[in-house]
Structures are given as C-alpha cells and as structure tokens.
C-alpha cells in the first residue's frame, strides 16, 4: 500500500470510530432524557365520565339568577331567566378559562377576568371570547332539575 492509501485507510477507520462514538453518545443521551421527559408529562387520571347531575329543586333557583353547579370536575352555570326558564351552559369562559357568572343588572352571562359577555343562549356577544359557551340540557323531573350533556 502507498502512504496515501494508508492515510485514507486510517482516516476511514477514524471516521468509523467517530460515528460509533457519536452514535453512542446520542443513544446514551436519548436513554437518559426519554424517561425524564416522559416523567414530566402528568398521567391521565381515570375520571368517571359524568353525563348527568342533579342540580337541586326547581324552587331553590330564583328567577333572574345564576348558580354554578358542579358537573364532574367542570363548573356549569344554571341560569333561571326572568321568565322562569332554566338554561345550563358550561361555566368555563371560552376566552381564557375563567369561570363566568350571571349578571342581574345586565341580564347576561359575564366573565370578570376580561369583561367577556354572553347572552342567555350562551352566545358570545361582546369582549374577547372567541366562541359561544357549550350548551347543557336541562331536564325537570317533578321537583328536581337535572343537567346533562347535550348529545
């Protein structure tokens, strides 16, 4: 072999070793980082899927008022209009996740965080909310008010 040939032979052997070393370092890093990154991600909690809750007796909800009802782990707002009609919406503002409230003086659903307003059909009518509130179904059985997810 010529000197040049030997040099090339050594170079390719060195490259081979470099790749092996580099590859091992990357593999090692991946083996260390993967469990750490996976650990940072909180596991999904096995929640019981709630489809319907009993909100209470019809008489407990005054006309022209709103009440926050616990629906699984989410808040739902039950509004009784001045006409006496019961309507339920997700109480989570579609803007930035605050919990809305019923405003008697405005006759509207209002979010205190960024002054978002929804009408009594849950439609976003003013302020920053980008979408209407999700509508829940209200069923009255005898005296009791039930709220369930709309299909």
């Amino acid at each position: 072999m010529t000197e040049n040939g030997t040099g090339q032979y050594e170079k390719s052997r060195r490259d081979f070793l470099k790749y092996i070393l580099g590859g091992s370092i990357i593999a090692w890093l991946a083996a260390v980082l993967y469990p750490v990154l996976a650990y940072l991600k909180p596991p999904k909690q096995g929640e019981v899927e709630v489809t319907s809750v009993k909100a209470g007796k019809v008489t407990t909800f005054a006309k022209d008022s709103g009440t926050i009802i616990r629906f699984g782990n989410k808040p739902v707002i039950l509004v009784r209009t001045s006409g006496g009609e019961l309507r339920a919406f997700s109480a989570t503002c579609t803007h930035l996740d605050c919990t809305v409230q019923y405003r008697k003086d405005m006759g509207l659903i209002w979010c205190a965080c960024h002054n978002g307003k929804y009408d009594l059909n849950g439609r976003n009518i003013s302020g920053p909310p980008p979408r209407p509130l999700d509508v829940y179904r209200v069923v009255i059985q005898g005296e009791d008010v039930f709220i369930s997810k709309s299909a």
Partner: protein
C-alpha cells in the same frame, strides 16, 4: 502578637493566595458622571433578592403545599406564628419592589446602551433573570391558594396554551394536568423554591463576575466631556459603603410598607365559584393584560389572543437580543433610534398599566 482576624487571613492567604484578589479589588473604580445614580439599582435588586432568599427560607418552615393545606398554613402563619405576618408581608412587598428595581435597572442599562460590546452576556443573563423574576412572581402568587391566585393561574397557564403547536403540551406540563388543581400547586411550589432559585443563582453568579471583571460601563458620550480626565471613586470601600447605606434605607422602607400595608390573604380558592368581579393580575402583568383586552377576538383569521401573545413574545425576544442588532452602539456611535424604542416601551408600559389599574 497579630490580631486574630489577621492571623486567620494569613492562614487562608498562605493556602489559597488571596493577594491577587485583594489587589484586583483595590484597583476597582466606579466612574462618576451625571448618570452614576443608575449604578445603584443593580445593587438594590441584588439586596432585594437576598431578602427573598432569607424570608423565603423562613416561610418554608411553616408553609404546606397542597390544596387542603396551603391556604390554612398561611392563615396559621399569619395569625399564630410570632412575626409570621411580618415575614410574609416582607416577602410579598420585596417581590414587588424587586421587579420594580430590576425594571429600573434594565431600562437604565438600555438607555445608556451598556449592553453594547463587550457586555452582551451581562445583558442577556440580566434579561433571563428578569424573565425568571416574572416566573417567580407568577408561581409564588399561586402558593397561598386563594381565589385571585387561582384564576390568575388559570388565565396565565391558558395563555401559554393558546400558543400554536407547543402551547397545549406546555400548559399540561405547567398545570400538571388539563386543569388547575392541587397538582398545579405542587409543581409551582417546586418551580418557585427549587428550579427557579437554582437557575437564578447560576445566572446571577455569571452576571456579577462579569460586572466585576469588566468594570462599570460608561455612557457613550461621557469620556469626551471630561477630555480623558475621568472622575472615579474606588469601589472598595467608597462605593460599597454608599451601596450599603442605600440598602439600609430600602430595608427601612420595606419594614414600613410591610407594617402599614400588610399583604392580604384573601379568600380560599374554590374551583366551583365564579371569578370575582374586579379581578386583575399583578401590576407587572397589567400592561399585557390590558393589551389583550383591546385585541378583537378575531384578527386576520387568527384568534386575537394568539396574535397578542406572539407579538409580546417576539418583542421580548427582540429586546433581549438588542446588543446584536444595535450595531451603532457597539461601534461607539450614538443611536437615537434605540432611545425612541426605549421611550416608546416605557410610555406604553406606564400608560397601559395606569389604564389597567384604574378600570
């Protein structure tokens, strides 16, 4: 016989050769000029950080993280523990003053263009510490688990969630789940007392070593005014003593604020209550909060929120990288453009903070 401290000094000196260090400190001078007063704000910020470390450790002796304990433990701290109210009040007030003095420090450095070559790294570490300070504020705010903090955290983390692609995973990571719960509190507690202080201390170390090694920056236009005869003051002990005097005054101010305007605890967080009327973020987030109110829900087929957040992120990035695009200052030329940008930012922040505060 030599005095005890001298013998101790010699004992250490013999082993680690302190001579070079002492000589270095002896040769350190602080330039005196019309703008020297701004040099004090870095030192005051450092002092306030030290107070946070000490009072933070004291609070740790009684604080219990967790949905069921956090609020109650602070209630206990403030009502039963001797001077518990004082320690907490000082910690809260110092947090606010720290952000204020850090802001003054940042803007003074910006207007003096002290970030220019060769002090780019000092500026970058300073900016990173400033962002961390906001993180400290945001995470610490949740720890008492009161109503205001609960909704502030919901909104703040939801804002992270609207960033395209990476937003949702970041939000889940911050909250420790899809909602703000006790899991969020645990994570924020960890960030606040371990992760952030650790990173902050490293950045602070680099920042201070660089300031010591490179000395104080001088305003671009000053040397000419003095025709090369720069007035200076030795750092040890002249400047340091002035620093210490100011620190003492600041400590007194803190005591007055903490005693006469004690920090409220508020109402315990209830995930099934409406957000209270008049809810507002801490003052240092107000200008962003107020801006988000003005951006319409939809803009250029984008959610207005997303646009606002991306704009703020972009502005923050540009601000942090100013040493790299302000070429004129690095060449030692005046750059009025930078002053206009700085002035605009200061006015914008002040005006929107006032509007946010008063509405």
């Amino acid at each position: 016989m030599k005095p005890l401290w001298k013998r101790f000094y010699d004992w250490v000196d013999e082993r680690v050769q302190l001579g070079g260090l002492v000589e270095f400190m002896g040769k350190k001078y602080v330039p005196i000029h019309r703008h020297s007063v701004w040099y004090y704000f870095g030192g005051v910020s450092l002092f306030l950080f030290l107070i946070q470390v000490v009072t933070g450790i004291l609070l740790l002796l009684y604080y219990k993280a967790g949905e069921e304990y956090a609020f109650e433990s602070i209630q206990f701290l403030m009502s039963k523990v001797q001077f518990g109210w004082l320690i907490r009040s000082i910690h809260s007030w110092t947090a606010n003053l720290f952000i204020l003095t850090a802001m003054v420090h940042m803007f003074s450095v910006f207007f003096e263009k002290s970030y220019r070559k060769p002090r780019e790294i000092t500026w970058i570490t300073g900016m990173l510490m400033f962002f961390l300070a906001l993180g400290f504020g945001f995470s610490g705010y949740l720890l008492p688990w009161n109503e205001l903090a609960f909704f502030a955290t919901k909104v703040g983390t939801d804002i992270a969630g609207v960033i395209p692609v990476v937003g949702k995973p970041i939000m889940i990571f911050l909250r420790g789940g899809p909602e703000v719960t006790g899991a969020t509190l645990t994570r924020f507690f960890g960030f606040h007392v371990a992760v952030f202080p650790g990173i902050f201390t490293v950045l602070l170390g680099i920042h201070l070593v660089f300031v010591q090694r490179q000395g104080m920056s001088e305003p671009l236009h000053e040397p000419a005014e003095f025709e090369g005869k720069q007035k200076t003051m030795p750092f040890f002990p002249n400047f340091l003593l002035r620093d210490l005097l100011l620190w003492l005054i600041v400590l007194n101010l803190l005591a007055v604020l903490a005693v006469f305007f004690p920090w409220e605890l508020g109402v315990k967080a209830d995930p099934f209550a409406s957000a209270p009327a008049g809810i507002k973020p801490e003052w240092y987030f107000l200008f962003m909060f107020q801006t988000l109110k003005y951006i319409p829900a939809k803009l250029l087929s984008m959610d207005g929120e997303v646009l606002g957040i991306l704009l703020f992120a972009f502005a923050g990035l540009l601000w942090t990288l100013v040493p790299f695009w302000d070429r004129r200052s690095s060449r030692g030329e005046k750059s009025r453009f930078i002053n206009y940008i700085g002035l605009f930012v200061v006015l914008y922040v002040i005006v929107l903070t006032i509007i946010g505060w008063s509405t």
